[in-house]
Amino acid sequence: MGNIPDLRVSLGRIHLRNPVLVASGTFGYGEEYKDFVDPGELGGIITKAVTLKPRKGNPPPRLAETPAGLLNSIGLENPGVEMFLKEKLPHLKRLKTKIIVNIAGEKKTEYLYLAEKLGKRGGIDALEVNISCPNVEKRGLIFGTSADLAFSLVKGLKQATDLPLIVKLTPNVTDITEIAQAAEEAGAEALSLINTISGMAIDVNTRRPKLGAITGGLSGPAIRPVAVRMVRQTFQKVNLPLIGIGGIMSAEDALEFILAGATAVAVGTANFVDPAVSLRIVEGLRQYLRKMRIDYFHHLIGDLRI
């Protein structure tokens, strides 16, 4: 019983030593933060998105700061799945933490191929499916904005791999719970929410957009209340474990998501501000449990007093 307070949580078949993950796109493939974070102290790492072919990403500038927020338009720059398997996975496999690989594609066939390919390799604990990309087949529709497309994609992926599937939802929809329910029916293991909120910023002196890609995705503390609300709504509608994401800078912020119904959290933009923040959040959660005299972290999940 030396493990009290017990921080362990489970996302379906994925068992985490603690509920703190690092969000896709903010932690590279695990190598960049090695001087600051021992991944063995984290619940897991969600990798930068991997696509079928290499992607060079969007033109600069790719970042613009907004009040308590960050707009980015990186454009899924990544070396492609072949290079990922050859150069990134061997290092990731050696880390003593859960490895969740984020996959993205423009067509359903790309996702299926990626899932099949990655599923055959050992050392990957789960896939996080980024369904916020434009669907070229359906002319600009986005998988994550249509319950039917999301259902069909997840159903297909379920057949393509035995790896647990975590579906990452976009907030840029009228009702996120519809997409969440579709993913649940199709067999998702867990849901991640939220991805960035679509946004734009303009330099009035030059009259130019601040991002090279004109629009981008907003992250950081500015979006946290939106994310907490969406986690709460989704928690009320689905029975899947949720990973809460959106502007988490501290253990207190993480706890908001947990009380709203998330089983785990992923820390994103905060990694840019403080590379060791994820470890500080783990420690902060432990202290909170001790202070509140709670032995098991999972007792807090959805424990909102209304």
Binding site: D35, G57, P60, E77, P275
Partner: protein
């Protein structure tokens, strides 16, 4: 790479919006190479949210100096820091300048606040020894903005000044002074190190390419993590996008696509 709480030793105004900050950072000072940078959290709340990168200007005995110009919210907050305040620093980060013993003739060309990363490369060259002809060309709008001229002169190299208003030295752009000095020179053992506004660097790179000189420049871009993870600070290079925080901030001039209008920071 370290994350440290650094104590501010001093923060002195040295020009109209220019400051020199001395920071106590023993580990970073020990490891820092010319051209590398530190990533500073200017505010502990969320405005501004991100860190700000600053070239290491000087480094000695457990401390570093940064030289900076107030251009926005982050640097404005920094300019208010006083002796004894603490700042969260990451560093030393990025790839610095390469100095080869084979270079016999060296030009260091700075424009405005671009002088910041070049002082350490000048020190390194002087350390490497005798028989080198080293010229530092320091350019600014006016003589008040030529920062640290005495420091440069104490290194024992030839220092030439260019001011746009002619208040000291050559009247005109420092790139024009450089052009006059290297006129008709072609030498593979000639090296150029430069930092300053993009139009100036573009000119220096073009002249160096014509002359066949080894030329390295320090560039900037809006930056996220500073560690190579977020891919936010890229610029266009001849081989694709390059991360300023990782492949840079010092680049070989020939790696850069100089005709990209977006090289100039928005």
């Amino acid at each position: 790479m370290y994350q440290v709480k650094a104590r501010v030793l001093s923060n002195e105004k040295v020009g109209e919006a220019h400051y020199r900050m001395k920071l106590e950072v023993s580990q970073i000072a020990k490891d820092a190479r010319p051209g590398q940078f530190v990533h500073i959290r200017c505010s502990s709340d969320h405005d501004p949210l991100l860190r700000r990168p600053f070239s290491i200007h000087k480094c000695a005995q457990g401390r570093i100096d940064i030289l900076y110009q107030v251009v926005g919210g982050g640097t404005r907050i920094l300019s208010k820091k006083r002796r004894g305040d603490q700042l969260d620093l990451l560093g030393p980060l990025g790839k610095g300048f390469e100095v080869e013993p084979a270079f016999s003739k060296i030009f260091i060309v700075s424009g405005g606040i671009g002088v910041a990363p070049l002082y350490m490369v000048a020190q390194e060259i002087t350390r490497l020894g005798q028989g080198k002809e080293v010229t530092a060309l320091l350019g600014a709008k006016n003589k008040e903005l030529i920062l640290g001229k005495d420091d440069w002169e104490s290194l024992g190299l030839r220092v030439m000044i260019a001011t746009e208003d002619g208040s000291e030295g050559y009247q005109g752009l420092v790139s024009a002074l450089f052009e006059r000095l290297i006129l008709s020179q072609t030498s593979l053992s000639l090296a150029v190190y430069s930092c300053g506004p993009v139009p100036m660097l573009r000119k220096i790179a073009e002249l160096s390419s014509h002359g066949g000189f080894f030329c390295q420049v320090s560039l900037e871009q809006r930056m996220g993590c500073g560690l190579g993870a977020c891919l936010g600070c890229v610029i266009r290079g001849t081989s694709g996008y390059l991360r300023v925080c990782k492949e840079g901030p010092v680049f070989d001039a020939q790696e850069i696509l100089w005709d990209d209008p977006d090289l100039e920071i928005r």
